[in-house]
């Protein structure tokens, strides 16, 4: 694992949290929208906070798919669950919400989970298969 790859995993979490928070805030400001009111549903994406939120969610998806191109699914999912920890910290220190003991316990469990999985290898494919995949990938790159 290189520093750059850790940065991609952090990107998955940070972009997801920022995107979700922005969309959530924008939707709350927009008020309740009926499912039958199609123009409002479409127009809501032009609200600045929602548009910015969608951009962050696109960045999240780019980082997520990039991470899946070099790491196992069972590595990426627990490793990027630091987003739950970030979300709780944002709730506590920026939104000044009251965080119950159970939620702090949840944050501790997730932190241990992240620690446990990131100590191990990111990819567990059999080496022969990986080698074959690499060879076919480079063969595909040939003009």
């Amino acid at each position: 694992m290189t520093f750059r790859r850790y940065l991609v995993l952090v990107g998955v979490s940070v972009f997801a949290v920022t995107g979700d928070s922005l969309v959530s805030r924008g939707m709350k400001q927009a008020g309740s929208i009926s499912l039958h009111d199609l123009p409002s549903i479409v127009l809501v994406v032009f609200r600045p906070e929602i548009a910015l939120g969608i951009l962050f969610l696109l960045a999240f998806f780019a980082c997520y798919t990039s991470a899946l191109s070099w790491a196992d699914l069972t590595y990426v999912l627990p490793a990027t669950s630091i987003s739950f920890i970030l979300l709780t910290l944002v709730a506590k220190f920026i939104l000044h919400e009251n965080i119950s003991l159970a939620r702090w316990l949840g944050v501790i469990l997730i932190s241990i989970g992240v620690g446990v999985v990131t100590q191990g290898p990111a990819l567990t494919h059999p080496p022969q298969k990986r080698k074959a995949e690499c060879l076919s990938a480079s063969a595909r790159l040939e003009p």
Partner: protein, 126 residues
């Protein structure tokens, strides 16, 4: 009856999002390391290869299905049940699916991480 609907929604969300994650992961492994590919062939090639991958397209469709199942689920049942239940169960079903469909070596460490995160997510919703 409403309990049945709620758990039906949870089961649908979990199934669709697990299928989405597994297909996306398989598709991206077929595409190969995107950073390396971008260095060798440029960003356009990366995007074209990702968008042309059938597993990727199917995976994104499954994720969209999971999103809509979540929307419908939320109109039938409480957020406090549907969101934590589906999120935490997805960590466990993904570990099982990754073992059988992606042939990842899900060892004790990976199991422990998946279960710790799943448990943590449930506690966060309390």
């Amino acid at each position: 009856m409403s309990q049945l609907y709620a758990w039906g929604a949870v089961a649908t969300i979990v199934t669709a999002s697990t299928a989405g994650d597994v297909l996306l992961s398989r598709g991206m492994k077929q595409v190969g390391d995107v950073a390396e590919l971008r260095r060798n062939a440029g960003l356009g090639t990366v995007i074209a290869r990702v968008l042309r991958n059938p597993n990727f397209v199917l995976g994104v469709s499954c994720m969209a299905a999971a999103f809509y199942a979540m929307l419908f689920g939320l109109s039938w049942a409480d957020v406090s049940l549907v969101v934590p239940a589906s999120t935490s169960l997805t960590f466990v079903t993904n570990a099982i699916a990754a073992k059988f469909f992606l042939h990842e070596r899900v060892d004790q460490r990976r199991w422990m991480a998946a279960l710790l995160v799943a448990g943590g997510v449930v506690l966060l919703a309390l």
